[in-house]
Structure formats: C-alpha cells, structure tokens
C-alpha cells in the first residue's frame, strides 16, 4: 500500500548542468498526464511499478527464473524472455539479479531521503544551483512536490521545476512562491496537433502558465522542436503570442527532438519508437530560431 508521505521517484541525478542554472540535482518524479509521442523519459509516464529489463546487462545466470513466482522469466538457448503480462511487480527478480539487468522503475522515497541526496552537493550550488523537480510531471504528485519544495525553501536550497504545465490549478498559489524558476514545456500551439501528439488539450497548460506569471512566477519556455510535426508557423506564432503576454519569462529555449527517448522504451518491454525523420537538422534549428527572433522573442 502506498503511503501519502512517500514520493514516487524514478531517479535522482547529481551534477546536472542543463536543468536550470548552475549545478543541479534533478529529482525525476514518476507519473505524467501526457503521453507525448516524442517522450524522452518514457519510464516516468506510468505511476505503476514497472520492471526495467536491460538485455545487454544480462549474463544469463537464471537467478530471476528461479525466484519468479509467476514464471514471467524464461531462459532459452540464446535469450532471456520476460513476459510482462505475467509480471505483478513483486520485484523478487530485481533482488535476485546480480548484474543490474533488472531494475525497478519506481523508488518510494521520503522527503528526508531525497533531501539527504540533494544536500550532498550543497557546496556546488552556490547562488545559482539547487534542486530541479522533473519527471514525469512533478505536479502529478502535487502534495509531494509541494512538500519537497517547501523543505528546500526552509533549508535555503534553490528550486526549479520542469513541468508540462498540465495539472490542477488550485495548487498554483501554494506552488509559485516555492519555485525560483519554472522550466515550462510548450509543446505545440496548435490544439488539434497537441491533442494528437500528447493526448491532452493545451488550453489548461497555457492558462496555468499565465496564472503562474500573474502570480510573479519566473519561467523559461522550453519548446521541443519535432521536424514535420510542430515546426510550423502556427506554433511559432503561438510561442510568440505567449512570450509577449508573459511578464516574468526569461527566455525561450528550443530543444531539438532526439531519438534517444525511443530507445528507452526497450527496457519497458516496448519497441524503440524513436523517429529519425523527426530529428531537425542544424539548419532547421537555425531557421526556427531566426523566425522566432524576428517575432521579437528572446532566445537562449
């Protein structure tokens, strides 16, 4: 049974340089309301415990086969077969696996446990760095995210949050004063495409961001560039209109799609869904930047 005061985390990564200013410790929270076709962290989407299986690490010792109560693992002459339909997530195989080929995707951690890790790099944070909540969508666990941020505030650790912006607006007033910088994803300004490629309507995301801004929250807009999908004039125009409506947005960052997230589907037992044709060339990125600069946007 999951207790309220436990936070579902996939990973805590130290010495992150690109998740906000300075040196940051990024805490990836598990669970996301969106299902972006280009997701870079697919293991963070589901709130469920998923067993990650890394075939290249398996040495074929058979320990998982021996301990699995459901017969989900089988060894053949040349392969280790893992039938996820049978798996109930008991993690007996994870404990038995000697090589790290089987790992749980979810760890349950208390605020204190997370902060113990975060505190380790305090000497490196200086005036700029600190914690970054990422995911997944941190606000998919709203009370947990707030508790974590509140404790960081109390301890004087800088805070940033990467968010898709799709969460319950009633938390905003509590949230905004706790976050030094929102790294706000703005995926597509075309509502139909947004629904098609992420599964949700963008109106709420935009409303939330405007509310954050009205409450004085500082933000950076992060826009993924997916060639042939959202690298279109209507999206650029939407970015521009959003940028010009915000008071506290520092700049816009364009992030080129990469296919690496697709390969992270494999440990989840799914096909690599990376799409090479979606990767924008350097020229494509230059073009997009120039369009946005012409629209008066400050780019990083």
């Amino acid at each position: 049974m999951k207790k309220d005061n436990l936070i579902s985390v996939t990973e805590i990564q130290r010495f992150c340089m690109h998740d906000g200013p300075g040196v940051r410790t990024t805490v990836f929270l598990k669970g996301c309301p969106l299902r972006c076709a280009w997701c870079h962290n697919p293991e963070t989407q589901s709130t469920a415990q998923q067993i990650l299986y890394y075939p290249q690490k398996c040495i074929g010792c058979g320990a998982c086969v021996a301990v699995c109560p459901r017969g989900a693992h089988r060894l053949t002459e040349d392969a280790h077969l893992f039938d996820r339909a049978l798996c109930q997530g008991c993690r007996a195989c994870v404990a038995a696996c000697c090589s790290g080929a089987l790992e749980p995707s979810r760890k349950e951690m208390t605020v204190e446990e997370i902060l113990t890790v975060v505190e380790k790099d305090r000497a490196f944070y200086g005036a700029l760095g600190g914690i970054t909540l990422s995911g997944g969508e941190p606000m998919a666990q709203p009370e947990n995210a707030l508790a974590l941020l509140r404790e960081c505030r109390r301890r004087g650790i800088g805070t940033a949050m990467e968010t898709c912006g799709y969460f319950d607006a009633s938390y905003l007033e509590a949230l905004v004063p706790l976050v030094d910088l929102f790294l706000w994803d703005f995926k597509d300004g075309n509502p139909a495409r947004h629904r098609e490629y992420t599964g949700v309507d963008p109106a709420r995301i935009r409303q939330n961001l405007c509310r954050v801004d009205a409450l004085g929250g500082v933000s950076v807009l992060r826009c993924i560039m997916v060639k042939g999908v959202n690298m279109q004039e209507d999206h650029y125009e939407a970015i521009a209109s959003l940028w010009h409506s915000l008071q506290h947005c520092k700049h816009v960052e364009l992030l080129p799609y990469h296919a690496y997230g697709g390969s992270k589907m494999i440990p989840l037992g799914m096909e690599d869904n990376g799409r090479r044709e979606w990767i924008p060339s350097e020229e494509d990125m230059e073009t997009a930047k120039n369009i946005l600069i012409k629209k008066g946007i400050r780019l990083k």
């Binding site: 040196v23 040495i59 000697c98 090589s99 380790k120």
Partner: protein, 713 residues
C-alpha cells in the same frame, strides 16, 4: 593556421601573424627536430678523461656545451636563448664520452627565478665568490670553484648570443635586453621575461628540466609599472609573454623518446598562476590574464599550468579560467591553496614560506627555489595482495575487518620504512649514522645548484643537501583500489557473510573465472570510492591518515623531510602486470586507478560525488599533495550553463578543502579518432597526470589508458 581545439571550438585571435606563425612552427616540431640534429657535445678528445673526478668531467661538459652548442635565433623572436642539444630533451647532460652520457640531469624542482629577475646573476656571482673564500681549503672547495666555473660558462654562452645578435637587423630589442639581463636586475617587463627565459634556457641547455613557478607573481609588478609609465601596451606585453610560451615548445619532436612512451611534451616546465603572496595579498594581475589569453589562443600545453584558488578568488577570474579550460587539453589544473598552505604550516613550514608554494614540475608541492625534492612511489594494492593476503593463499583468514585492516597497516608501515631505509642508505655518507647525518656524494649538478637557495652558501650541491629544504616524499599509489578491495571484503565476507574469507581467496586466485554472477553482484551492489558513499570513503580517509602518520614517525630522524603524498602518475600502467584480481570485481592485470582518482568505471554519481569522496580525507596530512583527475564530457560544459557548472565545480572543490585537481574536457570518441588518424590531431593534448602530453606521441598502451579513463570516467 588553426590551433587545435578538441571540441570544435574556434580559438580567438589576439596575437600578431608573425607570433602565431612562430607558435605554429614550434608546435609542429620545427625546433625540436632541429635540436635532434645535434644531440650532444663530444668529450672524446679529452686525454685525461678517465683520471678526472666526476665534478671535473661535469665542469668540462658545461664548458663545452656553453661554447659549442649551436646558437639559435628564430625568425622574429622576441626572446633570445635556446636549448639546442637533443640529448637534453632526454633528461641528460648533453655531453658524451665514448658515446656514453657523461651524467644525468635534474628535474622535479622550480628554481629561484625571483633572485634572477630582481637581483640578477651578478648577485649570485657575488654570493658564489664569497662562498669560495669561506670554503677555501675545505672539502667544499671543489664545489665552490665549480659554481664560479659554471657562472663563467653562462657568461660565455651569453656573450655568444650578444655577438650573434649585435649584427642582426631586427633584433635590436633582444640585443638591448641581453646587455642588461640576466646579469643585472630587470628594469622593465620585457627584460624580466627575457631574464627568466635566458636562465631557464641555460638550465635546459645543460639538460635540466626546471619548473618556472609563479609567473604572474614574478612579472606582475614590472608590467604594472610599465603600463603606468606608458612604456608598453597590454597588446605588446601579450606578444612578449606569448614568445615565452612559444619558446618553451622548442623541445617538441613529435616522437615519444622518453619514459616508455609517455609523450613528447613533458619536461616539467610548470607554471603557477594566481593565489596569495607571502603577505597574504592576492597575486592575480594583468600577467595572469595575459597568460590565460595566450593559452586560450595557442592551446600550448607544454607548460602544464596550475592556478591557486582560494575562498576569495574573484568569480570573474573563475569564469575566465572556465572559458580556457573548456578548450580541453587539460591545460589548467587547480590547487585549493588554503588546504595546501594549511598542510605546509601544519607540517612545519613558516606561514611565509608556505604561502610561496609552487610545484616540482608535476604537481607535488614545494617551496620554490630552495627545495630538493624527490618522491618515492609504492603500490598499496600490491602490498595488500602480496603481503597481507599472501597472494590469496587459501589458508589466509581474518576474524574481522579490523583484524584484516590491522595486518594491512603493518605491511603499509613496512613499505614506508623500506623506502626510508633505502633512501637513507643512498643519501647518507658511507660509514656515518643517521643521527650524525652527513650527505654522501651524488652526481654533480652545479648549474641547477646556482639557482637553488642554500647550495652556494653551504657548499653542497642540489642533491647533496645544499638546498634550504630537502624533501623525500613517500607516495602511496593504488589507493582507490586498495581501499575498494578492503571495503568489498568487509561487506562481502564480514558484514553480509556472502562467502567465507577462504572462498573469496579462491575466487580471486581463479581471477573470477566461473564466478561471474558474484563479480556482477559486487560491481552492482557496492558503491566504491568516488561515489560519495560514506562507508567506503571512511576507509579511504582512515588509510591516508594512518599512512601519513607512519611517514611522520620517521620524519626528523635525519637531515631530510619525509612528508606523505599520493600519486601514481602513470604507474598504474607499469603496475598492472604485477596485480592479481581484486575483490571489487577487477580481473588480474587491469589498469586501475591513477593518483587519488576513482577506479576507472566505478564512479557513477558524477563529478561532484568524486570531489566529495576525495575531500573526505584529511588532505592537509599530505604536504606534497594528492591529485584528483577529473574527466568531463564536452557536452557537460557547453554554453553559459556549462561555464556556470565549471565555475561551481571549482568553487565546490575549494570549499570542500580539495588539494589539487586536474580537470580535462574531452570526448573519448575524439581520442579514438586521433588514435586512428594521428596526422589530423598533432596538437591534441591530454592531461596525463602531472603533465600534459600530445596524445599522438603517447605509445598505444598509454593512449588506451587515457581513452579508458575518459570513457569510464
């Protein structure tokens, strides 16, 4: 002319075309190849060679070098003097008799350039003449006479340059400067640079490899005065300083002909920048920034340059350092000078002396210009495997981790004592005893002794107790792997009781054959040194404390200092064949950790965790130093965020009490590419350890080791 930058960056252009051309030629071996044409001066015509004393032979060699070595004046060069004999590049006095080297030369020291620049060689001569009067009729007289002789030789060499330059159009400034320096005190920045260069070049001509020391400290006041008087501009000063760096590349030969293929660019000519002076005032000045400009533009790695940082270091300076570091090549390393100074004063140096610290040409700390220095390495992993665990004898058993650790400490102490006995027997005059110490006779080295405080006065050479401080530093190597071995034994055998001691011995004897699941379990389960795991880091800190205490126990028993340090430099390569499988999942003969760095591939938590682990030891107990090699991916330091991150790393390192760190920014894939197409990567440099090497001049084994460190690090 594109000066190589590994990460696709484009270096800025500030220097004149002719200076850049000079750099290009030097980096591309023009002068190194030239030196190889005249390897040494022959002494074969000396009829009485066999009957001469070693010192007489040495004096004759120096005379012949000074009068016969080729004079080299490069196109448009702003500084004069060149070390033109090829054998000096191999760390020998470049004179032969019957085809054999007359004697080896001196390195691992930074000589006293301060006296040269401020007071001039005439001041040194006056000291030598006074000393000769004191030592007349004593057994010190031959050395005292040799000092005068070598100063005369310097004068002869100096006169040859004056003669050559006097009739050459375009070198009027060089001629004018040499009329004054190095004999008289420098009166301006240009003269000061020439003075240092000339003495540096003379020492190198005679085969020695001195370090340069604190260049901004030595030159800053001169530049400040000239700028104030309007007699030089910053741009002009940058050109002059650039020539100092470029001329230091005159030994680049493109082939690795020294020390088992460890590169053609390691002649221990280190430079230090920044940090406080003897009064506690920050030194950083215009010369600091000009030196950084030159390093940034030309990518010269031949003077491994270190910066002394402290808690008050200007963030603007840190940012400038980070900008230069990002070009890769390991060009800048950093000291946490508060820790270093604490360490030296705690050891017994006065605060004033401690604040002057420089290094020996790698990174071992010393008081420059007055310290004899040597370090003696030993492999602590091999001690554990061979002595404590008797080569994994099946009957080896311990009841507890504490028993094992205690037995290991006995063996570590024996290793330290063996070093002490061995060195003492080599340095002590025969038939004397420790407590009535007399320095024994060693190879002659008068030239370098002239520039080491204490030698002239005492009548003893650099290697015979002449300098004010004489330091022999035992260096523990294989540290991370010894620590990791102990930790894994503790966990596996004593805490978790996964298997018995005897069973583990068998597993290791069999080199993990047939025990892959256990090996994988060990690798997966135990966070080793470098992951900020308090449990293993505590063993690391404890071992270093115990080791340094053993050194201290022996210190003061005789006439040299015996401070502890940590290093392997590249010895992890030569030690590999002697090492058996390790409890932390490593197979026999693997190339393992270097210096105070983690075992390759074992650090999974990133750079901050490595620094945290390293800083958990009482680094102040290691007065000659403990180096941390830090490999960073170019992508991690991209953009403004990357600069912020690098600055934050440096600040964190200082705040946590780090001693010395060598960050290097390069991608392993670039190194692989260079291995396959060396012709395209002639000037790709990497930080090997205390020095930088041009990657393509490393032999295959060294290249592989460096690639491995970058891939796994």
């Amino acid at each position: 002319m594109t000066f190589y930058a590994p990460n696709g960056r484009v270096r800025p252009v500030r220097l004149s075309e002719s200076t850049r051309q000079f750099a290009w030629d030097s980096l591309n071996q023009k002068y190194g190849q030239d030196a190889l044409k005249t390897m040494a001066i022959s002494m074969d015509d000396l009829e009485n060679y066999e009957s001469m004393t070693k010192l007489e032979r040495y004096d004759e060699a120096i005379y012949r070098i000074a009068t016969q070595a080729p004079i080299r004046i490069c196109p448009d060069e702003k500084l004069s003097g060149a070390a033109t004999l090829g054998m000096a590049i191999n760390h020998r006095v470049p004179a032969t008799y019957g085809g054999k080297t007359v004697t080896y030369s001196i390195s691992h020291l930074t000589i006293d350039f301060e006296t040269v620049v401020k007071y001039g060689v005439n001041h040194i001569r006056a000291k030598a003449e006074a000393a000769l009067q004191t030592h007349l009729g004593t057994e010190r007289e031959p050395f005292a006479r040799s000092c005068i002789h070598c100063l005369n030789c310097l004068d002869l060499w100096h006169q040859r340059y004056l003669d050559a330059l006097s009739s050459m159009p375009g070198y009027e400034a060089n001629y004018r400067n040499l009329q004054r320096v190095p004999h008289q005190p420098a009166s301006n920045f240009y003269e000061a640079v020439q003075s240092i260069w000339f003495i540096f070049a003379f020492n190198r001509l005679c085969g020695n490899w001195p370090g340069v020391g604190r260049l901004d400290y030595l030159l800053g006041d001169y530049l400040e005065k000239d700028l104030r008087d309007g007699t030089v501009t910053l741009d002009e000063a940058r050109e002059i300083l650039a020539h100092f760096f470029i001329k230091g590349c005159e030994w680049i030969t493109g082939n690795s002909n020294f020390q088992n293929g460890s590169g053609d660019a390691q002649h221990y000519q280190n430079i230090l920048l920044c940090g406080i002076d003897e009064n506690g005032k920050e030194v950083t000045n215009q010369v600091t920034y000009l030196a950084l400009d030159v390093l940034e533009e030309l990518g010269i790695s031949d003077y491994p340059t270190s910066v002394r940082l402290n808690a008050n270091t200007d963030p603007k300076l840190l940012r400038r350092l980070a900008e230069v570091m990002r070009y890769g090549g390991g060009i800048l390393a950093v000291y946490g000078e508060d820790t270093v100074i604490d360490s030296l004063t705690k050891y017994g140096y006065s605060l004033t002396e401690a604040r002057k610290f420089a290094n020996d040409g790698c990174w071992e700390v010393q008081v420059p210009g007055k310290t004899f220095f040597a370090y003696i390495p030993f492999d602590s992993l091999r001690v554990l495997q061979e002595k404590t665990l008797k080569g994994y004898a099946p009957d080896r058993a311990f009841d507890s981790f504490e028993d094992l650790y205690a037995a290991y400490l006995v063996n570590v102490q024996e290793a330290v004592e063996a070093i002490y006995r061995d060195r003492t027997s080599k340095l002590l005059k025969p038939n004397f005893r420790e407590h009535e110490w007399q320095w024994g006779e060693q190879k002659p080295c008068t030239v370098i002794s002239l520039f080491e405080g204490g030698c002239i006065e005492s009548g003893h050479s650099y290697v015979e107790g002449g300098p004010v401080y004489n330091v022999l530093s035992p260096h523990i190597g294989g540290l991370a792997d010894a620590v990791n071995s102990l930790y894994v034994i503790k966990k596996l055998v004593f805490d978790e009781k996964k298997l018995s001691f005897a069973e583990l011995m068998t597993v290791l004897t069999n080199n993990w054959e047939g025990n892959e699941p256990l090996r994988q379990y060990v690798i997966k389960t135990y966070p080793l040194y470098g992951n900020d795991n308090d449990e293993v880091d505590a063993i690391y800190a404890r071992l270093l404390n115990d080791f340094s205490a053993f050194c201290r126990q022996l210190d003061g028993r005789c006439d040299y200092k015996f401070p502890a340090g940590v290093s392997t430099f590249g010895r992890q390569l030569e030690w590999a064949p002697f090492r058996m499988a390790s409890p932390h999942g490593r197979r026999a003969h693997e190339v393992l950790a270097g210096n105070t760095s983690p075992t390759p591939g074992s650090d999974r938590e990133g750079a901050t965790a490595i620094i945290r682990s390293y800083c958990k030891a009482d680094l102040v107990n290691l007065p000659t130093g403990a180096a941390l090699d830090l490999k960073l991916l170019p992508s991690s330091v991209e953009g403004e965020d990357g600069l912020d991150a690098l600055v934050a790393l440096l600040q964190g390192f200082v705040a946590l009490g780090g001693f010395f760190m060598q960050p290097d920014v390069v991608d392993a894939s670039v190194l692989r590419e260079a291995q396959e197409h060396p012709e395209d990567y002639q000037n790709l440099s990497v930080r090997v350890s205390g020095w930088n090497a041009r990657f393509v001049t490393l032999c295959k084994e060294w290249q592989d080791m460096v690639i491995d460190q970058h891939e796994k690090g």
